[in-house]
């Protein structure tokens, strides 16, 4: 065998400039990015792409919900009656407030406000997130108490025990997955809050807060749909 199969060398497709001396970099600029702007754009785009996968992830559950709601509308209506609209509405409001405080946390970083302000908004966001989970826990407890957790101990007094069990299978799957996202969100917020406390963020560099904010708002949006779909549709039949 020859050393190389071909001695033909075509011209290059690019100009390769010679290395020049390094100039000062922002401490948070990773080596493979050219500048902070490219790094920030890559990170936010990455989070958006990730959120698209999250949409599809929840999408599978929404699909199942749609099919079974279509197959037994009356059963789902009856089953949803056991959910407490007021807890659901309160949780919706709490998440919206947390989204507001999150948006203000991002704004605080964007405008180089003191670390204390940034951390304050972040802690407020986490507080409301925790409150949401607390209420969710109360709701779950009610379901356990009333034996409407799907499985061998499921009991249903109404006309449609099968669709009701299915409704609660989906209820726990959807709200459980959502709650898991909230827990992960709280974890992320902890990291961000520590970074903010260490005065990491200013108008030059606030990508982590922004990206975490995108995630938090997305989790809020999922609940914005879960609330009417699970709690509200068909309630007037019994509410009057």
């Amino acid at each position: 065998m020859s050393d190389a199969p071909s001695s033909y060398q075509p011209p290059p497709v690019a100009i390769h400039p010679a290395p020049v001396a390094e100039h000062a970099h922002h401490p948070w600029l990773q080596h493979h990015f050219d500048n902070m702007e490219q790094q920030a754009e890559a990170s936010t785009l990455g989070m958006w792409v990730f959120l698209v996968t999250e949409i599809m992830f929840f999408g599978g559950l929404f699909m199942a919900y749609l099919v079974y709601r279509h197959q037994s509308p009356s059963g789902f209506q009856e089953a949803s009656h056991h959910l407490n609209i007021y807890w659901g509405a309160a949780n919706t409001a709490i998440l919206i407030v947390s989204s507001l405080t999150m948006a203000l946390a991002v704004r605080a970083a964007q405008t180089s406000q003191p670390a204390k302000t940034q951390v304050g908004w972040l802690l407020a966001t986490m507080g409301f997130g925790a409150a949401f989970l607390g209420i969710k826990a109360i709701e779950y407890y009610d379901k356990f108490r009333d034996h409407i957790v799907p499985g061998p101990y499921f009991q249903w007094e109404g006309q449609y025990p099968k669709p009701a069990e299915q409704f609660y299978s989906l209820y726990f799957a959807m709200t459980g997955l959502h709650a898991l996202h909230m827990v992960i969100g709280l974890g992320i917020m902890t990291v961000i809050a520590v970074m903010a406390w260490r005065k990491t963020f200013d108008e030059e560099y606030y990508t982590p807060v922004e990206v975490a904010g995108l995630y938090w708002h997305f989790v809020d949006i999922v609940w914005i749909f879960l609330f009417p779909l699970l709690y509200l549709i068909g309630r007037h039949y019994h509410a009057g």
Binding site: S7, Y8, K162
Partner: protein
């Protein structure tokens, strides 16, 4: 050991010819384009092989005309495939009216068939030739699929619902029956034989089978045993709708929708009575899910169906 090199399954049903014609068309298209591409690749690769090390190819960037050509031609051919295939599909999925009905139940790992007059068989199916046969199929456990290669027919057999399949056998003989949807350990043993017979022979065979009355008789007995008859009275005074003369006719539901009472509707109404309640009745019927087997369900359906026919005859 290898005395036969089979290339092609026997064609023993009316549908087989249609499928085979479509198959030959598709094989011809495949052979033509595979040969075309292979010949072009080989000819170009030989003719334009590198003669010396510094040689480069010509800079040809493309041709809109060619791109359109090899977009439009495949599009045209695939549309022929689609239309032809759809025609065959329509023919194969719509059983003709008046087809002879046989009920089939799949379970791990056997096929149970029950003829209208009561004859039952396991992993065997006897059918007359020259007459459309419609199979109404349900499953007791997982998804199976009913496949007779020589007839070129197949349909999944799905728990929780009824599927149908129909064929007209044309040649007497014994043909393979396979389960084609993977269903567990003995999936490959869930096989059997379909015997196509001259109509006279078939009648003789039926006479030899069927102890214990027709399917509808068995259904009528269940109808009494399960106390269906206490609500579904014939005089219209019962708490449930009159079943006599109902089958095959449209009925208005509570929701205002209209559905035709067919096999699937009767089945659903036994297992999930609240799903489609007839207008003017209370949703009080209990479910019979778990109380009747798939086979008994089919007997009940056959009975309800026979009630419908009674009325139709007197009209």
């Amino acid at each position: 050991m290898f005395t036969n090199f089979p290339f092609f399954p026997q064609a023993a049903s009316e549908q087989a010819g249609q499928i085979d014609a479509l198959y030959f068309f598709l094989v011809a298209v495949t052979a033509f384009f595979t040969a075309l591409i292979a010949i072009m690749v080989v000819v170009f690769a030989v003719k334009f092989r590198r003669k010396h090390d510094d040689e480069v190819g010509e800079a040809i960037h493309g041709s809109l005309a060619l791109e359109l050509l090899w977009t439009v031609i495949p599009l045209g051919i695939t549309m022929v495939m689609f239309v032809w295939g759809a025609q065959v599909f329509f023919h194969m999925t719509r059983p003709p009216k008046g087809a002879m009905e046989i009920y089939v139940v799949g379970k791990q790992w056997m096929w149970k068939a029950q003829h209208m007059d009561g004859a039952r068989e396991i992993n065997e199916l006897h059918v007359p030739i020259g007459r459309p046969v419609k199979l109404i199929m349900g499953s007791e456990d997982v998804i199976h699929s009913f496949f007779i290669p020589e007839f070129r027919v197949k349909a999944d057999v799905i728990p929780g619902r009824l599927n149908t399949l129909w064929f007209t056998a044309t040649k007497p003989g014994r043909y393979h029956l396979f389960c084609t949807q993977y269903c567990g350990t003995k999936h490959s043993a869930m096989i059997g034989w379909v015997t196509a017979m001259e109509p006279a022979e078939y009648e003789a065979w039926l006479g030899g089978g069927g102890a214990g009355g027709t399917m509808a008789d068995a259904g009528a007995k269940l109808f009494q045993d399960l106390a269906c008859a206490t609500c579904h009275l014939d005089n219209g005074q019962g708490r449930g709708p009159v079943l006599k003369g109902a089958f095959g006719k449209p009925v208005t539901l509570q929701t205002g929708q209209t559905v035709t009472i067919d096999d699937a509707y009767v089945r659903e109404s036994i297992l999930n009575p609240q799903a489609k309640v007839v207008a003017g009745f209370q949703p009080i019927m209990p479910t019979f899910q778990g109380l009747v087997t798939e086979e008994q369900l089919l007997q009940l359906i056959a009975y309800v169906k026979s009630l419908g026919e009674q009325q139709g005859a007197t009209k």
